[in-house]
């Protein structure tokens, strides 16, 4: 009579080489889990964004919105100016191109919540999975940011080729561009998180909220006109918004010789308080980092509070209609 080793039948903890229980399955694998959740969510987001049609229609869809937005402002200033200057056109085209990037970043995260809760009814399952909810959400948002980036680049290309905006690759201040783009991207994702936190609490019609919020921020961000045109309290809001500093920083980096800026200028509160006409490039970077850090911290706190309230009130699987 032979006896079989109990080791064959009884799984032991900590011996995954022979198929036993892997403690990492409960503990998690730290950065590896985060990386995997993020890349999976990004891939899923991209497929949801892009595989609904053929590449040609997807390309048209991606660029039609930002190009139309830019053309609205170009025609508006042409109607009054009867043939605006290249610098003024450059000012509005760069502003609207960057704003399409902002819209994509803000909408991406909020729409992920609405998509998963209202349409696919998967939010609760995503929530109870081992992946971090916030990481999954960020991954989903990245795909839309990529679509926005494509739209922004094509708008700039159309602006250079057809509208004669003064951008030359040789003149671009690359270190400044890289610095403001990194800081700006983090800030845009943070604003998107805030909108996602709002959409966790609201109903189905919240689809339009990200665009409404972006439209309101557009007013105080100096994207298409100098902030000095606004009343002083609105100007102050603009100087507190990191998006104003980001747009100004990108403009300075890609059109360094152009004299038109959104921040400062005669009649602006910047000129009155600081005593100089406009901020310098290092000041723009410092202001962007400072305001961006505040917004990011606020977004993290706001998202945590919203997440807690959504669980408390059972909002994660609540669907609505109209």
């Amino acid at each position: 009579m032979t006896t079989r080793s109990p080791a064959v039948h009884e799984p032991k903890f900590g011996t995954p080489a022979w198929g036993g229980f892997d403690p990492a399955r409960t503990r998690g694998r730290g950065a590896a889990d985060v990386r995997r959740a993020f890349s999976t969510a990004t891939r899923l987001g991209w497929q949801m964004e892009a595989n609904w049609t053929d590449p040609v229609l997807f390309f048209i869809y991606s660029v039609a919105k930002p190009i139309s937005s830019a053309l609205i402002f170009v025609v508006m200033i042409d109607v009054i100016g009867g043939g605006s200057t290249r610098e003024l056109r450059g000012f509005v085209v760069v502003g609207t191109a960057l704003w399409s990037f902002v819209m994509s970043g803000i909408a991406g995260l909020a729409w992920s919540i609405l998509d998963d809760r209202e349409r696919y009814r998967m939010l609760k399952y995503v929530y109870v999975s081992p992946s971090s909810f916030l990481i999954v959400l960020l991954g989903r948002g990245v795909a839309r940011i990529a679509v926005g980036a494509i739209g922004a680049l094509i708008t700039l290309a159309v602006g250079i080729a057809l509208l004669g905006i003064p951008i030359s690759l040789g003149n671009i201040d690359w270190p400044m561009l890289v610095a403001v783009m990194i800081a700006g991207l983090v800030t845009i994702v943070a604003v998107g998180m805030m909108l996602a936190a709002v959409c966790l609490q609201t109903r189905q019609e919240s689809w339009s909220y990200p665009e409404a919020a972006a439209g309101a921020l557009f007013l105080v961000s100096g994207a298409v006109f100098p902030l000095s045109v606004l009343p002083a309290p609105a100007q102050l809001l603009g100087y507190l918004s990191p998006l104003s500093w980001w747009i100004e920083g990108v403009r300075r980096a890609i059109m360094p010789g152009v004299g038109i800026g959104a921040l400062g200028g005669p009649g602006s509160i910047f000129a009155e308080v600081i005593g100089r006409a406009s901020p310098s490039s290092p000041e723009i970077i410092v202001a962007l980092l400072g305001t961006g850090a505040l917004v990011t911290l606020g977004a993290i706190v706001g998202f945590r509070l919203s997440d807690h309230r959504a669980r408390d009130r059972g909002l994660l699987d609540q669907t609505t209609g109209s």
């Binding site: 949801m48 049609t53 609205i72 402002f73 508006m76 109607v79 006109f225 045109v229 606004l230 209609g321």
Partner: protein
Amino acid sequence: MAAWARRVAAGSAGSPAASAAWSRRQALATDLRTIVGRAYPRVRAMMRERSWMFFEILLPFLATSTFVFVYRAVHAPPEYVGFVVLGGAMTAFWLNVIWMMAGQLWWEKSQGNLELYFAAPMDVMAVLIGMAIGGLILSSSRAAVVLVVATVVYGVSFQVDQWLLLALVFGLTLAALYGLGMVLASLFLMWGREAFHLTQLLQEPVYFISGLNFPIGRLGFIGALAISLLPLAVGLDAMRQLAFARSDYPKGTPSPAIEALILVIMTVVSLALARWMLRTLERLARREGRLSVRWQ
């Protein structure tokens, strides 16, 4: 209760076919109830969740303000601010048409309600009309607030000589807009996720070719094409001509009376087209099994 009992008794006395053979009056009463029933949640929604006041009135007002300040920055004549305010108010209707009319049947399909609509003893056109009426009331409140607030804040002065024609053009614009919404709703019945993306495509590009923030005559051929195809473009142009009658409005577009006629034609054509498309696409969708396919 008594009426219900009589119907049950009549039904049990006759064949199923006889029970299903409704009189014109019964069919009409059911369709009217359908219209009221479908409009009800949209009207009630105005008071149920107050967050819309912030997101759908204040924020769109701020977005409209951006265009006002662009004109102020380039020292445009004051009537251009009025053009923008009028355009901003009409945006509420267009957004309602594309999100809550055009995309609605696709949305109902995703939620699993669409098959119930088609299984119920009612005309689906009545559902579309109910959606349109509910959406119109909902959007009117938002458009009115944006118009009044922006007019007061930015000091817009309207110069109206023909109030009756202005009211007629406004009514016809809404009829044509919601007619177009019904056509798009029928079209979207066949689509999956592309409906959502194409709805987004109907925003900025349509704002541009409709001249939402500038006189459409400036767009030349594209503007003329928009006037002949888009209710938003032709309605807005006619309303601007009527609301700023004594201003130096750029020439190059038809007179308001002709544009009113264009709107009448658009309304009739879009309602007839919506009815035909709904029937055709419903048949096609049934054949291809698309009415109950969700989450594509």
